[in-house]
């Protein structure tokens, strides 16, 4: 996965938050945000009705009236659908206080503690082979309800203001959010109009505790200001060339250095759905420790072009948990085999499962046994 076709424009900085706009020279017109989403915005559906056929996508957690009865429903998992086909969603009933006046005419995401759980459940199904150690609960319900700690964008220091004062570029189709220059989230859509509709929803997105802490303690990050070498300038054209060179330098620096942690070939990609020219993939990292890693969803074209991308940055603790779960999954959830892979004993692995917060999944007597053997 790469950002081909997307050019980073100069970043805009507010406090510890750096937002890097991504521009598309040619917007994709045959994949657009679902019309239900447009219907609730002031932009209306007018912009979509240019007669061309297109496929729709719906970001995970987006609330719109997808159902027949017109009540609000939340999309479960990012989807690509033919227009006017039913959407996989759960109807939701909002508490009266949650539907505030300001929310009308604004695209809205589901409250994120719920969306987050669903998200992780999507990625980790739970034991596929029922070894005797796994508890009934783990077998029946998998890892859900699995809660991960996450913060909404509103809780991330400075993000609200950074998004409010951000000046959207013409042709902008995405943004990279950095907190204290750590990549917090990548967000790409196919069309600039979609981006305008979804820009403010970045605030309702979830961010891991790493990003939350970086934003609080990271302090203001510097602007990458332009530097011109006036020495060789003899005419206005020289000056203009020097200014253009600055833009190219920034783009190269950003792609090679700042966005180096984006998903690469070590990631696991699961194709969820294929529709028209587009594939919906869900990806997860190799869960190597001490490395920047993201989970997320993407829609890519047949030609490899990235149409949609949304990532969530994992914290070190989450990476450890992911590492454990993927290793278990790789060994068909057999604890003995997994322990061998980890190079530890059966009991040590059970204790580690408990420490990382999955204790509930293991039968009580197995846990007790491991504890006794551990002498703790």
């Amino acid at each position: 996965m790469n950002l081909d076709g997307l050019t980073p424009a100069p970043s805009q900085v507010w406090g510890a938050i750096r937002l890097v706009p991504l521009l598309r020279a040619q917007p994709l017109t045959d994949l657009r945000l679902h019309r239900e989403v447009y219907e609730q915005t002031p932009y209306g559906v007018v912009r979509l009705n240019d007669g061309t056929a297109y496929t729709s996508y719906i970001p995970h957690g987006l609330v719109a009236s997808f159902t027949r009865d017109g009540g609000p429903a939340v999309a479960y998992g990012t989807q690509i659908v033919e227009p006017d086909r039913p959407v996989r969603c759960c109807p939701v009933r909002f508490h009266r206080r949650m539907v505030r006046r300001g929310d009308r005419g604004r695209v809205r995401f589901f409250p994120l503690h719920l969306a987050m759980e669903g998200y992780l459940a999507l990625h980790f199904g739970g034991p596929s082979v029922i070894w005797e150690e796994w508890s009934q609960r783990a077998v029946r319900q998998g890892l859900s309800p699995r809660t991960e700690q996450a913060y909404t964008g509103g809780e991330v220091e400075g993000l609200r203001d950074a998004l409010r004062i951000f000046e959207i570029h013409p042709g902008q189709c995405g943004v990279l959010v950095y907190a204290a220059d750590a990549l917090a989230a990548a967000f790409v859509v196919p069309h600039p109009d979609d981006y305008r509709v979804l820009h403010a929803t970045l605030l309702q997105d979830m961010y891991g505790e790493l990003i939350h802490h970086y934003a609080v303690y990271g302090g203001p990050v510097p602007e990458f200001t332009a530097r011109l070498d006036a020495g060789g300038v003899r005419s206005l054209d020289d000056l203009r060339a020097a200014a253009r060179a600055q833009e190219r330098e920034w783009a190269a620096f950003h792609d090679s250095t700042m966005a180096a942690g984006l998903p690469d070939e070590t990631y696991t990609y699961d194709r969820q759905r294929r529709m028209g020219r587009y594939d919906l993939v869900r990806f997860r990292p190799p869960f190597e420790r001490q490395r920047e890693q993201h989970i997320g969803e993407a829609i890519t074209g047949r030609d490899g072009r990235l149409a949609y991308l949304k990532t969530f940055r994992l914290s070190e603790n989450q990476v450890r948990r992911g590492h454990l779960l993927t290793t278990l999954a790789a060994h068909d959830w057999h604890i003995g085999a997994a322990a061998e892979a980890f190079g530890c004993t059966h009991e040590e692995l059970v204790r580690r499962i408990g420490r990382l917060g999955f204790g509930e999944l293991v039968q009580q007597h197995v846990r007790d046994h491991a504890h006794r053997r551990g002498g703790a």
């Binding site: 424009a9 100069p10 970043s11 805009q12 900085v13 706009p21 203001d161 004062i165 951000f166 000046e167 959207i168 570029h169 013409p170 602007e223 990458f224 200001t225 332009a226 530097r227 011109l228 006036a230 300038v233 003899r234 005419s235 206005l236 000056l239 203009r240 020097a242 200014a243 600055q246 833009e247 920034w250």
Partner: protein
């Protein structure tokens, strides 16, 4: 040592003047009202404490009324240890400034003085003199009733006779000899009487008598002030009160620009000829006898998303830029405007996109104009800092003899930096509140480069003070 201190003083005062021109203590795009106020309070306390003389002298400059009121308040509240000469100058400056301020602001200042319990002899004398100079006390008593009452109480003014009864014992008389006071009394019972009252007062009575908005607006229209008329243009149109329609060309330029930018795009397109003509007329009037006297001029004007201002100052930075465009076109026959977004139809502008100031400045410098005016909040972000670099390189390498005079005018006060955001040390930056002040600011901006010494600045201030005090305006 002494010259160094002087330089610092000159710099501080310029900071302060920029703040006092731009900030109104209201919310801006990047900072909220509380931040603006706190920042402004600090600057006021700092300048007053260190350079009291200069602090008072800034009253003679084109600072906004909010800051003028703050300065007067602080000068009156703190009188300890100043020489009689300084006291006299301050008194004259204050009196002169109060005379130039809109009365509602002065009454609000008096009320604040009362809340702060500032009631020294000088304050009372200044209030008394200002009230005595009001052309029609009865009119004030009707239009600014609570203001007059507060001022009269606070300054211990004798209010005998009719006016005293009107303010403090309204039921004591069954009729008044003064026609306006009597109209006010009758307006409680007679609908016809309220149309002789000032608009703001009549509005209350109209609500009391449940007069339909359209009828009320049509009949009160001749009594409206110019700005009331402008303010009510659109709501009167909705109420279909045709009488309120005004000759827009008579309106102040920046206000008119604000009005135009508040209209929906379709309306602007439909009324293009009328609006353009009005803006041109207002600009020609603002240019006065300077019209057509400037050489080839270029302007880089900011219409990026940040010119949306705030809910309190809606599209103010963009309005200033739009007004500047028309004013410059009136001042310089050969003028070219470049908007940062690259749009060319200035009537259909709205805040949009990033601020690629650097590249636009390059375009503007191409034909080597005599003067380059930049109106922007100075947050150059595409890429950041390019404007400053371009201007520096241009000055160093291509135009060391300064054939092109560059000036940056900034309508937004940056609360964190205690100054307006600057583009480059090579280019003077000055705060701007109304585009009408642009010619004066362009001339004054020379001080802001720091190349002009503090002695010149002081001399300039003295000249301005002298002119301000003798101006019989």
């Amino acid at each position: 040592m002494d010259t160094r201190a002087n330089l610092v003083a000159a710099e501080d005062v310029l900071f302060f003047v920029n703040a006092a021109i731009t900030s109104t203590g209201q919310r801006e795009f990047r900072s909220d009202a509380a931040e603006q106020r706190m920042s402004l309070q600090f600057l006021h306390a700092y300048v007053q404490g260190n350079y009291r003389e200069l602090y008072a002298a800034t009253l003679a400059l084109d600072i906004n009324d909010h800051n003028a009121a703050l300065i007067i308040h602080r000068l009156l509240a703190d009188t300890a240890g100043i020489s009689p000469g300084q006291r006299r100058t301050e008194g004259r400056l204050i009196a002169r400034r109060l005379a130039a301020m809109p009365p509602q602001r002065v009454y609000r200042l008096f009320a604040r003085l009362r809340t702060a319990k500032v009631n020294n002899r000088r304050t009372r004398a200044i209030m008394r003199d200002w009230l005595a100079a009001r052309p029609d006390p009865a009119f004030d008593a009707v239009k600014y009733r609570s203001g007059v009452k507060t001022a009269a109480r606070h300054a211990h003014l004798p209010t005998r006779g009719e006016l005293g009864d009107f303010l403090f014992a309204p039921r004591a008389r069954t009729r008044y000899d003064h026609p306006l006071l009597d109209t006010y009394r009758r307006a409680r019972y007679t609908q016809a009487a309220l149309y002789e009252l000032p608009f703001t007062v009549a509005e209350g009575f109209a609500a009391k008598h449940r007069i339909p908005r359209r009828v009320f607006l049509d009949r009160i229209a001749p009594g409206m002030t110019r700005l009331e008329r402008l303010r009510l243009q659109e709501s009167a149109r909705e109420a279909r009160a045709g009488e309120v329609a005004a000759d827009l060309g008579r309106m102040p330029l920046t206000r008119l620009a604000s009005y135009v930018l508040a209209l929906p795009l379709d309306t602007r397109a439909a009324r293009r000829a009328e609006l353009t003509a009005a803006l041109r007329t207002a600009a020609r009037r603002a240019a006065g006898d300077r019209a057509g006297t400037w050489g080839p001029t270029a302007a880089v004007l900011d219409d990026s998303f940040s010119t949306a201002g705030s809910t309190q100052k809606r599209r103010r930075p963009l309005a200033v830029a739009l007004a500047a465009h028309y004013l410059l076109a009136a001042l310089a026959p050969r003028h070219r405007t470049l908007w940062t977004s690259g749009r060319t139809d200035e009537l259909l502008l709205y805040p949009y996109g990033p601020t690629p100031l650097g590249l636009r400045i390059l375009d503007a410098l191409e034909p080597a104009p005599e003067r380059l005016v930049i109106v922007s909040d100075g947050w150059d972000n595409a890429p950041p800092g390019l404007a400053g670099e371009v201007l520096r390189a241009w000055r160093e390498r291509l135009d060391p003899e300064e054939r092109t005079a560059v000036v940056h005018l900034n309508p937004v006060y940056d609360a964190d930096a205690f100054d307006v955001h600057r583009l480059s040390p090579a280019v003077p930056t000055a705060g701007i509140r109304d585009a009408e002040d642009l010619p004066a600011l362009v001339e004054l901006a020379a001080f802001a480069t720091g190349r002009t010494g503090p002695a010149e600045l002081r001399a300039h201030l003295d000249r301005r003070v002298a002119r301000f005090l003798e101006d019989p305006r």
